[in-house]
Point group: C2
Chain length 383, copies 2
């Protein structure tokens, strides 16, 4: 089996890009990645996107983007697992390289969300929930996360204010990331004064949508065997859970995080203490907490303690959201999983500047679709 | 590299399934496939669908369907390349098995189209065209195919009546397929009297949408090495072209069919005369003609002659649409590519009944997204 190595990364700033079309966003990130890789063609393209059919009235982004970036005729497919689309596209590229049929792959995550009316985007995002059993009852996607957070607080006795530390950390790191949507810090006071969106989730618990694109060029590790150091994919695994909360075995436990992270650790032959950076999926602070717990970085119900003890900071036990996370870098849904891996690569390359983590041999990225129904975990290593 | 073998197939009748939800359609086809395979679990699931985000307000079909069929926690992703989604999902499963990371895969194509108002489905199908450069100008998806057909007739001198043979063949074969939407023959008179949809495409040139689902269980050929005969995937390739017609090098030539079929033939070490059945993508009769030409089964501009000489019939030079094709089996867009491969497997197993092809060692399936922008070709062999 061919092991994958990252040859190039590219990203654009997450923001409202009203002057650029969907394909232009994807094209910019891709050209950065190809330039970084020193390539002008690839064997296969994997595009990650959630909403283009609804928000942009455009299907088959594979062909659309291949043409736009000058790679017409290359094979190119779009993958979708709601907000977990990015890492799933990356995983399929890893498998394609492992097959030996494809030597170089381009993975592109892109989402253009801010041209559509808010109500339309809220409705489109609700397609991540169960249309028949949840959305038809009038529940929005935020409301589902609010139910989980409410239950979590009830079970473990935490207050809303205990979740502020996740967002404060994310914003503190985003200040130093030129690609982040928000380059400003927030304080506990900002959190306390934040307007309520869906009790108990307030505006500072929630990540921000945005337009964005990120891209990665992958190749077989063998192809660049003389290059050192190189960033390799040493663990890749995915798992699902039921979309509808009523079908979950445990409302406050991400089974798919547990399954996929255990599988990735096993493949990599590593343990939690090896991981120097964890780009988790903090779409809401409750998801940040559950990702840490489900992936085994702390015990059940202990994630807010980890955050409040500053163990999630750059110099802590497990640095998270080191470039701002979904909260402050922004969450262009189908692109997010690719941003996460790009950011882990930056850390392993040692180019993360002010928010460079001290232990940067191994990093983990975990992307979540729905409120835990699709979870994909990757471990990367500097070799 | 692990070669893939088909362990099981399943399908349901293409029709208006108003009494069944999207997940129920997928579930039925899947249970048939798992039963045929003699399995009750798989390592990875690949779901093919084009329109669920718009027509069914449901994203992440991977998790949705995994849960419904009792395989919660399995990894499961949705792939999309408009009407070419099916074969692309199949190809990604083939690559995953080739990687050695996944031993058994389930590929499910599903589409539920008839619950939505026609105008909404027409608009959703138009997302297969270029939103910025084509659809914004008011062109529907049928209109794009009409432009191609018009040009083809102009270049090669054929009349509309010359295209009737493609549809007559499809309907003649569908009579014997219990899963086909239309179990009735049509004649030249039916074709002549058909209402015009978009000149020169009439109702008998166009395939019919429908609700449908088909599924395939794949495993590594090695895993069932003692089973004989077995149906193996010996060629798998995909290519893109520009979505917008204005960006094509040649309006009446499917470059992506040429590239992907040549690659598949090369992998298989076979030539055209080896292929005993070709399940092509006759979304419109013009696409049937272009698929035959682009894939090298006849010279440019000669496909209508092949059809009128009855060389596409069951006992002809290259039998096509042997179970009805898109025209008469029906075209539940995201499921179509899986139906095609299921039908090739039926032929290679020798269970195609009245429409069994005489030479059934090798078969080809070719699925098209857009009006030629995503083309995926597979060659299967009985070994």
């Amino acid at each position: 089996m061919q092991k994958s190595a990252v040859l190039g990364i590219g990203q654009i700033k997450v923001q409202e890009h009203w002057d650029k079309s969907l394909r232009e966003l994807a094209g910019e990130a891709t050209l950065f990645a190809l330039e970084d890789a020193g390539l002008n063609r690839v064997d296969g393209i994997f595009v990650s996107n959630m909403l283009s059919g609804t928000a942009n009235k455009q299907a088959q982004l594979g062909a659309l983007i291949a043409d736009w970036i000058g790679l017409k005729y290359s094979e190119s497919i779009r993958l979708e697992a709601a907000c977990g689309s990015g890492a799933y596209a990356f995983r399929n590229a890893v498998l394609a390289i492992a097959s030996g049929q494809i030597e170089t792959a381009l993975v592109i995550g892109v989402e253009k969300m801010t041209d559509s009316p808010s109500a339309e985007i809220t409705s489109a995002l609700a397609t991540a929930a169960d249309a028949d059993w949840e959305v038809d009852m009038g529940v929005s996607f935020v409301a589902l996360n609010a139910l989980i957070m409410q239950r979590y607080m009830h079970e473990y006795g935490w207050q809303t204010s205990d979740f502020a530390a996740f967002s404060i950390n994310a914003h503190a790191n985003a200040v130093h990331n030129p690609y982040a949507r928000f380059n400003k810090t927030i304080t506990e006071k900002t959190y306390q004064n934040a307007p309520m969106i869906c009790d108990p989730i307030n505006l500072m618990d929630a990540s921000s949508i945005g337009d964005g694109a990120a891209a990665i060029v992958l190749t077989s590790s063998e192809r660049i065997r003389n290059q050192s150091p190189k960033i390799c994919v040493v663990g890749s695994a995915a798992a699902t859970d039921s979309i509808s909360l009523q079908n979950r075995n445990d409302l406050v436990w991400l089974s798919a995080a547990e399954i996929s992270s255990k599988a990735a650790f096993k493949q990599a032959g590593l343990s939690h203490s090896d991981i120097g950076v964890f780009e988790y999926h903090d779409a809401f602070t409750i998801m940040a907490a559950l990702a840490l717990e489900g992936s085994g970085f702390c015990e059940r119900g202990e994630a807010p303690r980890l955050a409040n003890d500053e163990e999630i900071r750059i110099n802590g036990q497990i640095p998270v959201a080191t470039r701002g996370g979904l909260k402050a870098r922004g969450h262009p849904v189908g692109a997010t999983g690719i941003y996460q891996i790009v950011e882990v690569v930056q850390q392993l390359r040692g180019v993360a500047g002010e928010t460079q983590v001290p232990r940067n041999k191994y990093g983990m990225a975990q992307n979540i679709g729905g409120s835990g129904s699709n979870i994909i975990t990757h471990i990367l290593a500097r070799e």
